[in-house]
Amino acid sequence: MKPFGKLLNLCFVLALLAFFLLGLGKAILRPKEVNEYENRTASRLELPALETVLDGAFQAGVEDGLSDQVPLAQVMKKLYNEGGSRLVLGAMSGFLETKPPYYVSLLGTKIFAGDYLVYDTYTMERVEENLQKKAENLNGQFAAHPELDFYAYYIEKDTDVNLETGEKPGIYEFLAQTLDLPKGHMARFEVNGFGDFGRDFFRTDHHWNRVGSYRGYREVLSLLGVEDEPLEPLGEETVAQGFSGSKAGSAGMRGVFTEDFTAYRFDFPAMEITVNGEPAGDYGNQEAYFDGTAAEPLSYGNFYGGDFGQVVFDTGRADRENLLVVGESFDNAMLKLLASHFGKTYSVDLRNYERSMGSAFAFAPYVQQHQIGTVLLIGNCDYFTMPEFRLEG
């Protein structure tokens, strides 16, 4: 066996060496920009500097860069996460099928009622400081612009209520007390327990579903005092089976936790749409998904529209007021519905505005330039706490 043994050993050593060296070569020479599987910018290998070596940042960067850049890294992560999750869920299927009406922690995520991926309920201690800062930020704008009608719509979700006990930390109440808004200018999308949550939210995504977003739309119309009849759904259609949303993604359980993606069809009035200053055929791809011709993989954002810095909807009805919506991804599902009732509707996502439009968002000149009369501040708790969502000033 000697000559064969040598050959076999040589092949083994070279194969292993090639596996690792090719991985290193690819990571250095052909790095990826985006890590699609983890929905983020891919880490890359950077050159060392004395300071970064001494504080360990370089070493940590090499580890991160390799984990994103070696060949098939994302396939490996998918295999590991989904394989592991399937194995565990397979072992637990009997238990989960009983739909236990309490939180079950699993592999870093939480499951409620067997198949809802949920977040922990926030506590006031966790959010109070940032809520206060946001309120001060907004109150400053309210005071500076008495000519504008400001409205706030707070969207409760699983972070606002303990689905087991129904207890709520009182985030909306805190905001309602702290924001200097006239009576009737603030409302909330109320979630009081699993009954509301299960009906109005996706099981695998952190957004509201068609039922929730449509309820939100009607409540916002009522808040804004719009007297038009709301658009009525023409019907509902299941766009895809096996949809795995953002929560499944963040838990590494894409394809493991799935659900039907069902949406309402609407007969939207004609409107011109510009996205980040460029004319766009549509916002979102609802028709393409209904027709089965959409090229992008299905997601909440791809279906209803993404978190662009600025989207403008123009119905061409100069007799109607202009609306400014300063929000986040929850409003994506209702923007076109809402825009149907106004002349021009400007939607701004402060996280992306400067990057997309080339300059920071300046509230006063913006409302003046676009002849805004009504401003809608809309979002969930994260919107009212994350610094990225604060207006200037």
Binding site: M1, F4, G5, K6, L8, N9, L10, C11, F12, V13, L16, L17, F19, F20, L21, G23, L24, A27, E38, N39, R40, T41, V53, L54, G56, Q59, V62, E63, L66, S67, A73, M76, K77, L79, Y80, N81, G84, L87, V88, A91, M92, F95, P100, V104, S105, L106, L107, G108, I111, S246, G249, S250, A251, G252, Y300, G301, N302, G306, D307, S329
Partner: protein
């Protein structure tokens, strides 16, 4: 840097291997190993490299002094003592000073607690250096006159941060004269891959069980799960530590060094004496040869012998960490070994093997609970749960953290591979001829598969989804 990191697997290891085998000259090859070893250590703690070099320099100068003053025993002894005190003192300052000052402070003495971070691997490399100095003093080895070679021995990356504790005499000859062969390289690589798989596939996954149970509410988990936690921790620490030793031994072999074995299927032990012949062999033999025997071993009065044994085991426990539970753990084994040596050992010999095994494993599991839990309240609670019946509320257990199921799925793997099945299987397989070649091809394929699988586990664990990037 750890062996199971991507930086090691994709960057350090292949580059080191390439650089090493591209050099023809022994001195250059040693130079490559030294340079890579220093980078390896500095990768995790750039500043502590100075400490490691100073410790090596101390041993080097001490060695030269011992050699030079051979004809003057008094001076030689003084040099030896100074060297040992400096090296042991260095270990004491960086590993134990915080602990002692903290305890003195708690006892009411006006002592401030210094904030000293523990340098990685200091216990391992200090013991290696001490073995050099002591063996040299005893005349069992030749002095190393080349500082870089001595530093290579101290800092050689395969065994630097997690052992095994390689004595200078084990690799004294191989530093200058060793032969690397393709057979050694491939055998070393196979051993490395097996070690990596033990660590990332078994140890890291069964580890979750104990982690989840010990951080949860005691009453919820019940007796059965507390025993399970002890078993899981036993498997985790075995596959983690022996996996590292396998990787170190494998890498050493690739570069032509032959380290001694550090584990020999410890969970097959039939007594505690037997267990310690199989567990962390390089540490227990170090204490035997450098502490126990110099104290007189068993050739002293019984009372002194008892004292020696307990002192050695207290030190063994304390070597693992500056915490009271490690001291207790060491003394626990000291007492059991004492009892076995005095009378229980003879009784055990008459018992059937399953009973002896059960006896040993129960004591080992209790030992791991003591070792694992630094909080004495939690430790006594856990031990109490193991020895009184308390039912398990499975629904609550699963709700609290169902990830425990993942650990449970890996538990059978751990149980199976903690028995010597692989060596037994290998012994039965043909080694020569076509059949031998087929077996080798199969082994290589399995190892390639395990390497890829291990990388999947390492990369998979870095999953970091960003929910607000884009939808």
């Amino acid at each position: 840097m750890v062996f199971s990191s991507l930086s090691f697997l994709y960057l350090f290891f292949p580059l080191c291997g390439l650089a090493y085998f591209l050099c023809r000259n022994r001195a250059w090859r040693n130079g490559v190993l030294l340079a890579f070893s220093l980078v390896f250590y500095a990768w995790g703690e750039p500043k502590n490299i100075i400490l490691l070099l100073l410790a090596s320099l101390t041993a080097y100068l001490c060695g030269l002094g011992l050699e030079r003053w051979k004809p003057r025993p008094g001076l030689r002894r003084a040099v030896f003592l100074v060297g040992v005190v400096l090296l042991a003192g260095n270990l004491f300052v960086f590993k134990y000073l915080n602990f002692f000052c903290g305890n003195l402070g708690r006892a009411g003495l006006p002592v401030s607690v210094p904030e000293i971070a523990l340098p990685i691997g200091i216990s391992f490399y200090t013991f290696q250096i001490l073995s050099y100095v002591i063996d040299l003093y005893r005349g069992e080895i030749q002095v190393q006159r080349n500082f870089f070679y001595l530093t290579l021995y101290v800092s050689f990356f395969p065994q630097l941060i997690a052992g095994p504790i390689v004595r200078y005499q084990t690799i004294e000859a191989e530093i200058l004269e060793r032969r690397e062969s393709l057979e050694d390289i491939s055998a070393g690589l196979r051993r490395f891959v097996l070690g990596l798989a033990k660590k990332v596939i078994i140890a890291d996954n069964v580890g979750h069980i104990a982690e989840i149970i010990y951080k949860g509410e005691a009453e919820m988990y019940g007796s059965a799960l507390y025993w399970l936690a002890a078993v899981a921790y036993a498997l985790q620490i075995y596959f983690d530590f022996s996996g590292y030793s396998d990787m170190a031994i494998g890498m050493g072999r690739m570069f032509g060094f032959h380290f001694l074995e550090n584990f020999n299927y410890p969970y097959m032990a039939l007594s505690i004496t037997d267990f310690w012949r199989r567990w962390h062999i390089s540490l227990s033999t170090w204490f035997r040869d450098y502490i126990y025997i110099p104290l007189g071993g068993n050739r002293v009065k019984k009372s002194r012998w008892v004292l020696n044994l307990l002192a050695v085991w207290a030190l063994t426990g304390f070597w693992h960490g500056a915490q009271w539970n490690f001291l207790l753990w060491g003394l626990y084994y000291g007492v059991i070994l004492l009892v076995e040596k005095l009378w229980l050992g003879r009784l055990l010999d008459k018992c059937p093997k399953p009973a002896r095994w059960l006896y040993a494993m129960v004591l080992v599991l209790v030992g791991w609970v003591i070792f694992n839990l630094t909080d004495f309240g939690q430790m006594s609670g856990a031990l109490g749960m193991m020895f009184r019946f308390a039912p398990t509320d499975w629904a609550k257990v699963l709700a609290a953290d169902a990830s425990i199921v993942k650990g449970l799925l890996y538990l059978p793997l751990g149980l199976v591979f903690s028995a010597p099945l692989l060596p037994k299987l290998r012994a039965r397989l043909p080694k020569d001829g076509w059949a031998g070649a087929l077996v080798l091809a199969g082994e290589n394929l399995v190892c390639l598969g395990l390497a890829v699988l291990s990388v999947i586990y390492v990369i998979g664990a870095t999953y970091d989804f960003f929910i607000y990037f884009r939808f």
